[in-house]
């Protein structure tokens, strides 16, 4: 927001009236800062890995969370009547260097899903079953952690490591 401070010096009203304009400008800037801070605190989502969520546990209950993990295909259940999907995800590192070291996202997801000791988390989501929801897909879930340790997702994005170079808008998936 450096631009706004530069701006307030850029106009030079009559010296007597200058204070009025400065006060007015500062009030507007304060209002904008206030809007950003309040909106941020009520809507920010904290990105955690499955490991981190399981380690922090109860302290995260009620916060807006975002988590990503590898989907375990044989845990997927779908109740078509209530459109309720339940599945487990296992921990995948969100560090690009680790993913690169594993040989790319597809390999990292595969390693995670085949590791019996990897940390798991159960996810519940209500909605139509996306057909990208399959074994070893990367699920990015947004929602809240319940007291029961289950992740209740409002939003479910799925990424299958595709062969395309383009990054597509996030809303395109899932």
């Amino acid at each position: 927001m450096a631009e706004t401070t530069v701006g307030s010096q850029a106009f030079a009203p009559r010296s007597g009236g200058r204070a009025k304009f400065l006060v007015g400008g500062l009030l507007i800037i304060a209002a904008i800062v206030y809007l950003v801070v309040t909106s941020l605190s009520s809507t920010a989502q904290y990105f955690y890995t499955v490991d981190e969520i399981q380690a922090k546990g109860a302290s995260l209950v009620g916060k807006n969370l975002r988590a990503s993990g590898a989907v375990l295909g044989d845990t997927i259940t779908y109740d078509a009547k209530t459109l309720t999907i339940t599945f487990d995800v296992v921990h995948v590192s969100n560090d690009a260097a680790d993913v690169e070291a594993a040989g790319g996202l597809a390999a990292a997801l595969h390693n995670a899903a085949s590791d019996p000791n990897a940390t798991r988390m159960t996810v519940v989501y209500v909605g139509p079953k996306p057909d990208l929801l399959q074994n070893e897909a990367q699920a990015i879930v947004t929602g809240k952690l319940g007291e029961d340790g289950v992740f209740y997702a409002d939003e479910l994005l799925l990424k299958c490591p595709t062969r395309y170079e383009e990054a597509v808008p996030a809303q395109a998936e899932g």
Partner: protein
């Protein structure tokens, strides 16, 4: 062969750009007109060279030359011809090449058109534009080369390189990977070029602004010279944004058109500062004020244009670490930092010369209204910028990534947008210098009462959402004040000249294109606001699994599932196409075909909605999953998006208004040319 030719042309273009920048700078320093002419020729030469490179790449794309890494990664044999051409900007390397070509085209246009008129600026215009062009061609030549071939090296890895690596075997894949299905849409023909044209055209006013700073000309010649560039660039950027929204609505299948995605924000940010710039230059032209401020705005716009390209192209969005690994990310970052610092240095050097000729007189004046408009636009830009970079900053600062989504943007920018639209209704009625509150009150009384009546009517109709009531109320208020301005002008003209109403209206606009073009754009914004408020606050949705013959109810609509066809297409899609009937209040109104296209070779599905669109609302039906008919039937998701068509209709009015405002004014052009010719011998 063709690949070598294309690459060779680019290398020469890079050399020409560097030569032009250096020579133009030296020519101005040593006062050598011949050197300047040489610099100009070199700058003009970049156009045929980049054109050749683009044509070479298009020819390679069209003729299925899959031994090239780029061709292999963005096309396949099954793709229709037009998509193979658009694949030019379908991937990283090609889009940077396309950017360079546009930049070179605009340079040529600016140098050919303005050469005689703005002699003093020209050396530095060439310097700035050639540095920008050189940077982009440099990225293509050194980091993201679309002409590299695929080779298999000894350890079995496949690499891309211009020359054969040691022990490398040339690969000749039989087919390419194809363009990402999301990009296989007719929107691909127009949307990316429009955004890019918008981006690139802002380099022209920036170059003239820098030339004005370097040559220490504190007047507003640079603004007048580039006014039309700015407007046209702004029009294309606006169109690019609107068409991007339309594309998302038609293809991405989530029921909306704007998701505050970083890629969208990247294009929206320069639009915001450019819009502030368009408004505040009027103050400089009319009153000789805000000179420094306008410099700041055009510098910011240029920085954000490059930043926008950087955001979408550097990989920084997926992760800060991916950014560090990408070849072009750090280059972009350095380029933005360098140009920004250099521009700011030039600005501060001229700080004292850019003092306003007048000072602000009163808090209640047109000048203050413009200032407020600027603050609000920049405020929104700051919020969007913060939201876009916040995940990266939090990741760098704390290691903990904190992301923000649409709720953040809606909550933080909503009140600012509301204030801005409201101001749009009041400002045109506020007098210059010092307005009287009483007179302003008299002018606003009727629109205000009208807006209150609209709100009361909506409340009677059962609308209780205060945000929507405020949005519609402000829209009604601004529509009334703006229409009132048209009427006031027409009436004054009828009285003065005795013309008939229509004739008076037409000449009024013809004589004041800028002003009434601007008001038409304001009306367009009101129409879009109505659409945005309607579709944001009143969207309803439902979903469910249907067997043939079953139905879903949503609001006044009933949708029944009639049947499902499955078939394969020539371009490699497995299509599931449902037929549904839409009833409104019990009466059949339409049959829709929501589709699910599965791209077999890439394993990627796409959801194409079936939409019934009217001015009142859209019924938007998605086929989410389907199973063999004997089993459970298909799952549908249905949205009703009220007033969403107003967004697109507003877009149409928007174009009209901008064209009216930008249409060349023959009288003004003659006047300025005469003045420039008279002054020319004195310069350089």
């Amino acid at each position: 062969m063709l690949a070598n030719l294309g690459y060779f042309a680019l290398v020469i273009a890079l050399a020409a750009a560097v030569y032009a920048a250096v020579m133009a700078g030296l020519a101005a320093d040593r006062h050598k007109p011949a050197w300047l002419a040489s610099a100009r020729h070199a700058a003009l030469l970049t156009w045929p060279l980049t054109t050749l490179a683009c044509l070479a790449l298009i020819a390679l794309l069209l003729t299925d030359q899959y031994q090239l890494e780029y061709v292999h990664s963005v096309t396949s044999r099954a793709m229709p011809l037009y998509l193979k051409v658009t694949a030019l900007w379908g991937g990283q390397a090609g889009s940077l090449l396309f950017w360079s070509w546009l930049m070179s085209t605009f340079t040529g246009a600016a140098l050919l058109r303005k050469w005689d008129r703005d002699r003093a600026f020209m050396p530095f215009v060439i310097v700035v534009m050639m540095i920008t062009l050189g940077f982009f061609i440099g990225l293509v030549v050194f980091f993201e080369n679309p002409f590299v071939r695929l080779w298999q090296v000894a350890n079995g890895e496949v690499v891309g390189s211009m020359l054969a690596p040691a022990g490398g075997l040339a690969l000749l894949p039989a087919d390419g990977r194809g363009l990402n299905p999301l990009l296989r849409h007719p929107g691909m023909i127009v949307h990316p070029p429009m955004l890019y044209i918008g981006f690139v055209s802002f380099v022209v006013p920036y170059a003239f602004a820098m030339a004005a700073l370097i040559t220490r000309r504190a007047d507003d010649e640079w603004i007048r010279t580039t006014r039309r560039w700015t407007l046209v660039g702004w029009l294309f950027l606006s169109l690019g944004l609107i068409m991007g929204g339309r594309w998302a609505y038609d293809v991405l299948g989530w029921g909306g058109y704007w998701g505050w995605d970083p890629v969208e924000n990247a294009a929206f940010l320069p639009w915001l500062t450019a819009t502030a710039f368009l408004h505040s230059v009027m103050i400089q032209e009319k009153r000789g004020m805000l000179k420094k401020w306008n410099m700041v705005l055009i510098i910011l716009t240029y920085a954000l244009v490059i930043f926008g390209t950087f955001l979408t192209r550097s990989g920084v969005l997926s992760s800060v670490h991916a950014f560090a690994q990408s070849a072009i990310g750090p280059s972009f970052f350095a380029f933005i930092a360098l140009t920004f610092v250099a521009s700011m240095y030039l600005l501060f050097r001229e700080w004292d010369h850019l003092r306003g000729e007048r000072q602000l007189d009163s808090l209640l004046s047109r000048e203050t209204a413009f200032l407020l408009n600027n603050l609000l636009f920049l405020g929104i830009a700051a919020v969007v910028f913060w939201g876009t970079v916040f995940p990266m900053i939090s990741e760098l600062a704390t290691g903990q990534t904190i992301t923000v989504g649409p709720p953040f943007y809606n909550q933080a920018t909503g009140p600012l947008f509301a204030a801005l639209v409201f101001l749009m209704g009041v400002a045109p009625l506020v007098a210059w210098r010092q307005a009287s509150a009483r007179q302003l009150g008299r002018l606003l009384r009727v629109p205000f009462v009208g807006a209150l009546l609209v709100v009361a009517g909506l409340m009677l109709a059962g609308i209780r959402n205060w945000g929507a009531l405020l949005g519609f109320g402000i829209s009604a208020f601004v529509a009334l004040t703006t229409l009132f301005e048209f009427w006031r002008g027409t009436r004054a003209r009828m009285r003065a000249t005795g013309e008939k109403p229509l004739a008076a209206f037409v000449t009024l606009i013809g004589r004041n294109r800028r002003r009434y073009g601007g008001y038409t754009i304001h009306l367009a914004v009101v129409i879009m606001t109505i659409g945005i408020v309607g579709s944001n606050f009143f969207q309803i949705e439902t979903q469910g699994q249907l067997k043939p013959g079953e139905q879903l109810t949503l609001g006044r609509y009933v949708v029944t599932f009639d049947g499902l066809d499955e078939f394969f297409t020539e371009d490699g899609r497995q299509v599931a196409r449902a037929t549904v009937s839409v009833y409104r209040d019990g009466r059949f109104i339409s049959q829709l075909h929501p589709r699910r296209d599965f791209y077999v070779d890439s394993g990627q599905p796409m959801t194409i909605p079936g939409v019934r669109s009217t001015i009142e609302d859209d019924v938007y039906v998605l086929l989410v999953t389907w199973e063999p008919l004997a089993a459970n039937g298909a799952t549908f998701k249905i949205y009703v998006n009220p007033l969403v068509n107003w967004v697109w209709a507003g877009g149409g009015v928007f174009i009209l208004g901008t064209l009216v405002a930008a249409w060349p004014d023959a009288a003004e052009a003659r006047r300025r040319l005469a003045a420039a010719v008279a002054a020319a011998p004195a310069r350089l």
